[in-house]
């Protein structure tokens, strides 16, 4: 950090360097730190009409946080959101590890290039549009139901939309890249001779993955899991489009606290509860994979 600063100063001089520092500081303070501090302050105060704000009832309290436990419906949605995000993460890992392995270790030349393009192009399209395409696929008379009916696997169209599985499918699809690339990155640095050596010593393919490739890819797997989980837990668009009243996501609860109940204080408290759960998940992942911050940010 010190080295970076002194090299910047050498190149641009003292005045420009202070300007850069001050603008960065203002940006961080004004757009990141202060709003968050404000939300923390909100979350510990009761929701009061403007007249009573600053009055004797405006005291710090944990009531907004406790409110989640007092509301079984919201609590259930919260727990389901955490659990479902974990499920999305696990599913994405199972789907993406083979893809990443194939890309990193087996695909060569044109095949690799085409696969990369096939993976990246969907991400040029807006997330909401991509999610809408799943609406068409999963609709009552959509692609999946047409195929199932034509094959005679079902007599009646199946209702997918508005259910939790629909949301999970949409999310796994939406976050595939965030899981593939970190794993791809870490697998790419694996010496192919290690895989050959393991094979030569008699290991079947699954043991090569279990003992050689997966341990090597651990930092990438941890990063992929953290990103996917955070995105899944924090998404609003996908449950809003693919879900229904019975499959509400906790972000939707937070949204309604802010913009429907106009209770910013409780909304802020809910948002922080979600944030703390996510941080807890990161800590758990890092513990589980025995990786440290230096490895993850590498």
């Amino acid at each position: 950090m010190k080295g970076v600063l002194s090299s910047v100063r050498r190149r641009y001089g003292g005045v420009a360097t202070s300007l850069i520092l001050v603008s960065c500081g203002l940006w961080a303070l004004g757009l990141v730190v202060l709003p968050q501090l404000m939300m923390i302050d909100y979350s510990f105060r009761p929701s009061l009409p403007p007249a009573k704000q600053g009055g004797p009832e405006d005291i710090y309290t944990l009531a907004n946080y406790a409110a989640l436990y007092g509301n079984p419906l919201n609590l259930a949605i919260f727990l389901k959101t955490i659990w479902s995000s974990a499920l999305v993460t696990a599913t994405a890992l199972v789907v993406c590890y083979p893809v990443a392995f194939f890309l990193a270790r087996m695909a060569v030349g044109r095949t690799a290039g085409l696969l990369f393009i096939a993976l990246v192009i969907p991400y040029w399209i807006n997330e909401i549009l991509r999610t809408f395409s799943w609406l068409l696929i999963l609709a009552r008379n959509g692609f999946v139901n047409t195929v199932l009916l034509d094959l005679g696997l079902t007599q009646e169209p199946i209702i997918f939309l508005g259910t939790t599985p629909a949301i999970l499918v949409g999310m796994v699809y939406a976050y595939v890249l965030f899981m593939v690339f970190p794993i791809y990155n870490s697998l790419e640095s694996l010496d192919p001779h290690q895989i050959e050596a393991a094979r030569d010593l008699g290991a079947p393919w699954w043991r090569i993955h279990w003992r050689i490739a997966i341990p090597h890819a651990k930092p990438g797997i941890a990063v992929g899991c953290i990103m996917t989980f955070m995105l899944a837990a924090g998404t609003y668009a996908i449950p809003a489009i693919l879900g229904g009243p019975k499959s509400r996501w906790f972000t939707e609860v937070i949204y309604s606290q802010f913009f429907e109940a106009l209770n910013w204080n409780r909304g802020a408290a809910y948002a922080f509860i979600l944030l703390i759960m996510c941080l807890g998940f990161i800590a758990l992942m890092m513990r589980l994979f025995r990786v440290n911050l230096a490895e993850v940010t590498r």
């Binding site: 290690q194 050959e196 050596a197 010593l201």
Partner: protein, 381 residues
């Protein structure tokens, strides 16, 4: 760093080697012919080396024997059994990679025991066998270390122990010493040879380093451009090369190109730019054929008398003297500008030599080889 005298590994008899046969093996990668119709029989328990420049196909042969690639044509047999369709994890071979390919995330003992783990040996037994093998390669007590805590030579020995753990019938080594410094390399040569003798495992060794191949091997196959040039015991490879490539690739050699003017069953005479030279006619050359005659520097006798009268003698002017202690290299130049090296034992006769002196060089016909000048060797020589 002596290996322990312990012969037995894991309480079993030392694993005895099996022979390897290549029968008309050809390997193509697209348009590139990496291995061209190679047939060899490597005996059980033999230390066999493939020697050749990089890109000559020797590594491909090793990968064919280990099973990582299947030959385009031909058969590979190990212990008399056809290996077609048998994967590398099912063959009785163990490969030591050029970069060793140790597993950096496992402690040393798990590296050594990896093959046993793959065979379903219980953990306690694995640990015990790993310790025995580590003792065999003089690394006892290093089982719990990380691979990156070891020196280059120690890693080398972990790789050997890891390969021995699976009790292979054939050990395949892909230039495993090339990353070591000279002194350690020479030491490891002797140790590899000792391990090979003690275990009785067949060693197939790949190298581009001729002294490595000549000092360790029972037999050497010299390869060039996917083909076997010569298979022989080390001293025949050096003293009786069968092709111009072998003569030029292995060791220093003086070469005179020309054409054959006289030949019989034993000798051939080549007309060169220093006159007519007689050498052993191993390839039954006939008069008129293009050929080169090859003479080792240590077979060249040089003396001050400037009177070339006999056969197999010619004049050259001394360029410089390279003093190496026990031997002295004389660098000379012929009238035609050709550079000659003559190696002499250090003696009083050599004192007082100075650049610019004319000398007469001689050699015995039996110490020179007349070999066909084939186009494809011209570039290499």
């Amino acid at each position: 760093m002596q290996f322990s005298r312990k012969l037995q590994v894991g309480g079993r008899d030392p694993a005895l080697g099996q022979g390897v046969s290549l029968d008309g093996v050809t390997m193509r990668f697209g348009d590139f012919l990496a291995v061209d119709d190679v047939s060899i029989d490597i005996a059980a328990g033999e230390f066999f080396s493939f020697l050749g420049p990089s890109g000559c196909g020797k590594t491909t042969i090793l990968r064919l024997i280990s099973g990582f690639v299947e030959p385009t044509a031909g058969r590979i047999l190990i212990g008399g059994q056809d290996m077609a369709g048998i994967g590398p994890n099912k063959r009785p071979t163990a490969l030591i990679f050029q970069n060793l390919a140790l597993f950096p995330l496992m402690p040393v003992w798990e590296n050594v025991a990896f093959g046993l783990e793959a065979r379903g040996v219980a953990k306690q037994e694995r640990r015990r066998r790993a310790e025995q093998l580590l003792e065999l390669v003089a690394l006892d007590g290093s089982g719990d270390k990380r691979v990156n805590e070891l020196s280059g030579g120690q890693r080398q020995r972990v790789a050997i122990a890891r390969a021995l753990a699976v009790e292979p019938k054939v050990m395949l080594l892909d230039e495993p010493l090339s990353a070591l410094d000279l002194k350690l390399r020479q030491h490891m040569r002797a140790e590899l040879r000792t391990i090979q003798r003690r275990t009785g495992v067949t060693f197939v060794y790949i190298t581009h380093d001729q002294s490595e191949a000549l000092t360790m091997s029972d037999r050497v196959a010299v390869m060039s451009q996917g083909r076997i040039e010569q298979i022989d015991v080390p001293d025949a490879i050096y003293n009786a090369p069968q092709t111009a490539f072998v003569a030029g690739f292995v060791g220093e050699i003086n070469r005179f190109a020309g054409h054959v003017v006289a030949a019989d069953a034993r000798h051939a005479v080549v007309e060169t730019d220093v006159g007519r030279l007689r050498g052993v006619n191993r390839q039954a050359l006939r008069p008129g054929e293009r050929a080169s005659i090859f003479i080792r520097p240590e077979r060249m006798r040089a003396d001050g008398a400037a009177n070339p009268a006999d056969e197999n003698s010619f004049e050259a002017v001394l360029d410089r003297v390279g003093f190496e202690g026990n031997v002295v290299n004389l660098f000379l130049r012929t009238n035609a500008g050709r550079e000659i090296i003559a190696q002499q034992h250090n003696s009083d006769d050599l004192s007082g030599l100075s650049s610019g002196a004319w000398m007469t060089l001689r050699f015995a016909p039996d110490s020179a080889a007349v070999l066909p000048a084939e186009g494809r060797f011209e570039a290499a020589a």
